[in-house]
Symmetry: C2
Subunit: 266 residues, 2 copies
DNA sequence: CGGCTGGTTGATACCGCTCAAATAATGTGG
DNA sequence: CCACATTATTTGAGCGGTATCAACCAGCCG
């Protein structure tokens, strides 16, 4: 189980184990009560992010076992860490709302953003390797996550084949994602990287029901730069150039995609 | 230590399903007969790479089921592909002898080496994500691999917890490895990358019973460059510089590590 | 309001890429 | 086994894309 003593920061790293009944209510609150009428049977099935979450693979007949597993949730305030490199690994986390960045650090002091995670995506896979996390997961905005104790996940995988399959896919997708990113970092120019980044973010926003052509960046230019292996000034210049060309509209963190084709042809 | 008395022919993509008894004999041949006296019980357990292989997690009581799973092996000649991007995913491969590179390609034609795999390491994890491989796996020298049909692996995982655990670790290790590589690509200078590469290879050779201070590169400067995100000339210059400084001894593909500390302090 | 973080833009330096040429290593056919 | 073709490696010279340094601006919050 998740010890409630998990590194608590300023205020918000509170883990709340709740009885299923209470949990339902809390979850409904998270969703602004929109699904209150439906929420009786199975909290996980009613989650707005169910479609993207690892738990989506569990057949409805076994939802009950799922809800027993996913029985804690957690708020993480903007700038706070869900876990840090070196923390012992307990659980995988499904992002219910908000977004995160993952950061790895080199002994020499430099650090690098290895990914941005949106709602529905999973955090913590890195911890499986050595029972210890190897990166920091930091919230880019006030966020909520569901905790899935990993030994419970492994237990469930024994009985629910689709879940096993899904977990394997999830990890493999992460492997593929990273190798794609390496190709980006190693081979392409700064502008191409920024363009690719915008397009990727665009489709992911669209998948979540937001507009793919107008969205808000939750991360700073510096974080984008770190992710893409360049300086923040270079990111800024690339965005300015794209705007001059009429391909995008930039206003601070607000991004509008005007000419997607131009970006993808870089 | 790694006996590759395996001669490669041109037509090597041969998969040979064998009865267990025959298999034993073939394997013993693969090992140069060194373990012939011991090989009666369980071929997998007698593999020289068992310690590093995913199958090392299977308790001896269940070796027999393992041997039923790992019942095909395959030679891959230098320069040939074990699988290619786009191939449908069937199996994971454990490298029994030799070494490989994995290469991903960008639509625009550029390609990038995402990793080098040595004996005992596993290939094919990328295919799990979409039942289709996303990279090419190319032998850097004449090599042999054991095929492990993935549906069999998943079946066995249901019954053998340690194997499930090991598979998860394996995938997570790959995730961690890649995020470390991204840090390398994004943040460090060309010389630092080359130094890190040499040190990494050195420890992996040592783990396999070779000297960590004197070994042969199986890949070209160009492949190293692709892996590290730089041009082959830059790799060559870095190696030359390290030699001028007296930190390493280079003679073509033969590398001697003279002053490990200097390399790690870059 | 004034400090502060985040973002934009400009000037300059430098690392690593590109092009080029010479040399070494490897493979092939006779 | 040699002669030749091919591939791999080293080294040099010059250019260009990014980093770096610096100045300035815009929100934001106490």
């Amino acid at each position: 189980m998740i010890p409630s003593s998990l590194k608590s920061q300023t205020s918000v790293d509170v883990v709340r184990p709740l009885a299923p009944r209470q949990l339902k209510l809390v979850r409904d609150a998270t969703q602004g009560g929109q699904t209150a009428g439906l929420a009786s049977a199975s909290p996980c099935a009613n989650c707005v992010m169910h479609w993207a979450c690892i738990t989506g693979a569990v057949p409805s007949a076994q939802q009950e076992r799922l809800d027993r597993m996913v029985h804690t949730w957690r708020k993480v305030g903007k700038g706070e860490s869900l876990f840090r490199a070196g923390d012992t690994f307990h659980a995988l986390y499904a992002i219910r709302s908000g977004s995160f960045k993952t950061v790895v650090s080199h002994p020499n002091g430099t650090s690098h953003v290895t990914g941005f995670q949106l709602s529905g995506e999973t955090l913590g896979l890195d911890g499986i390797a050595a029972d210890r996390h190897t990166c920091d997961a930091v919230a880019l905005e006030d966020s909520t996550v569901c905790s899935m104790p990993f030994h419970c996940v492994e237990d469930l995988c024994q009985d629910i084949r689709p879940l096993q399959r899904r977990l394997h896919q999830l990890m493999a997708e992460e492997i593929v994602r990273e190798s794609g990113l390496m190709l980006l970092l190693a081979g392409l120019t700064a502008e191409t990287r920024v363009a690719t980044f915008l397009l990727n973010l665009s489709t992911r926003m669209q998948d979540r029901g937001y507009s793919g052509s107008s969205f808000t960046l939750r991360m700073t230019r510096e974080e984008i730069g770190s992710y893409l292996g360049m300086q923040l000034e270079t990111v800024s210049r690339a965005l300015s150039r794209f705007q001059r060309e009429g391909w995008i509209a930039v206003s601070g963190k607000q991004i509008g995609i005007v000419k997607k084709s131009a970006l993808s042809e870089l």
